[in-house]
């Protein structure tokens, strides 16, 4: 099996990185590199990578550590405020729905006009014959089926879209 590493690899690497290669290393190491494919590869690439590293590090324009810390803190605070705001929003929606229901119930219990209208609607519904309405409903659906389908789709799609948008936010 072909060897994939060499015990002298690190010595060759150290010699290249410390600028000792080729003059300030043992002759035995030079002989080894001449015969070892792995160390020869290390020699070929280590110097080039080290030069590129020096070059890139010299070109690196890194922001000041204080600025990075400050930006990170600002972002953490913003995210925390958003996270804290989310349950509040949900609670506010629930509270609003409860208040509206309560208001509606109070209005229904106290308004004479609403009660008489309700009674009238109930009595007209009781006298209604659903069998007589069936042919009319079938005709309506066959005539405006596409519109009804579109409305049903909107009723389903819009809440789903709103939910997905809120989820992404």
């Amino acid at each position: 099996m072909k060897p994939i590493d060499c015990e002298l690899e690190s010595e060759v690497l150290a010699a290249v990185l410390q600028n000792r290669w080729p003059d300030r290393v043992d002759a035995s190491l030079r002989e080894h590199v001449a015969a070892c494919a792995i160390c020869a590869d290390v020699l070929a690439i280590a110097g080039a990578i080290d030069d590129a590293r020096e070059e890139l590090r010299a070109r690196a324009v890194v922001p000041d550590s204080g600025r990075v810390w400050w930006l990170a803190q600002m972002r953490a605070r913003r995210e925390a405020a958003q996270a804290a705001g989310r349950p509040i929003t949900a609670a506010q929606v629930i509270a609003f729905a409860c208040a509206m229901s309560l208001l509606g119930a109070c209005f229904g219990a106290t308004s004479a006009w609403f009660q008489s209208a309700l009674r009238q609607t109930a009595s007209s519904l009781a006298g209604l014959r659903f069998q007589a309405l069936l042919p009319f409903a079938v005709a309506f659906v066959s005539e405006h089926g596409a519109v009804l389908l579109g409305m049903a789709a909107i009723l389903l799609v819009v809440p789903a879209a709103v939910y997905l948008t809120m989820l992404r936010e």
Binding site: I4, A40, D41, I45, I49, D51, A58, A60, L71, Q73
Partner: protein
């Protein structure tokens, strides 16, 4: 007149305090750690992505995620590996997203186009090296950079790149062979 404190204010304030305390280190420790690692990380990200603007964004994002990570580190090396792992994953995500957007849109290479400060010969050598590196797979580039520019051990490289330590040696061997050939060193005992 004092501003009335509502329940929501108290809840938000405590959340903000939690956020400030949620960082895994205090400011002084962070700043010292940043000063030790930022340049090396910048060079690593530059080598992985080749886009100056992207590197700056990724650098900021890497340090932010590092600060927010709920992890404890045994030592500096462990901490540094974690930082490089975050950076590697972010660069990988960016590459995947850009590939998904348009297969033909490469990640920029403006860093490589900046002329070297060390004269024409060095610029040419650097251009050759950049060309050779660009022909390697991103994982091979990362592996070689960590091994030979950052001096990371096999275990550390495997940890950063999410590989098994046992599978790293042959991968590193192949990447090294490939780069040496691209840099003009013919394979020993093989074709010229």
């Amino acid at each position: 007149m004092f501003r009335e404190t509502a329940f929501t204010d108290i809840q938000c304030d405590s959340a903000l305090d939690d956020a400030a305390a949620g960082f895994m280190m205090d400011e002084d420790t962070f700043r010292a750690f940043y000063d030790r690692t930022a340049r090396g990380l910048w060079a690593y990200l530059a080598r992985l992505t080749g886009d100056r603007q992207l590197v700056e964004d990724l650098l900021q994002e890497t340090f932010y995620r590092f600060l927010r990570a709920a992890a404890t580190y045994d030592n500096e090396t462990h901490r540094r590996n974690s930082l490089y792992r975050i950076a590697t994953n972010l660069a990988r995500d960016v590459r995947r997203r850009s590939m998904a957007r348009a297969a033909s849109v490469p990640v920029g290479d403006d860093i490589e186009r900046v002329p070297s400060r060390q004269g024409a010969g060095a610029t040419e050598r650097m251009a050759d090296f950049n060309r050779a590196m660009s022909r390697l797979k991103p994982r091979e580039r990362a592996m070689l950079w960590l091994a030979y520019a950052e001096g990371a051990s096999h275990r550390e490289i495997a940890d950063v790149l999410g590989l098994r330590p046992t599978s790293l040696k042959p991968l590193l061997f192949r990447a090294r062979r490939k780069l040496a050939e691209l840099l003009g060193r013919a394979p020993r005992g093989g074709k010229p």
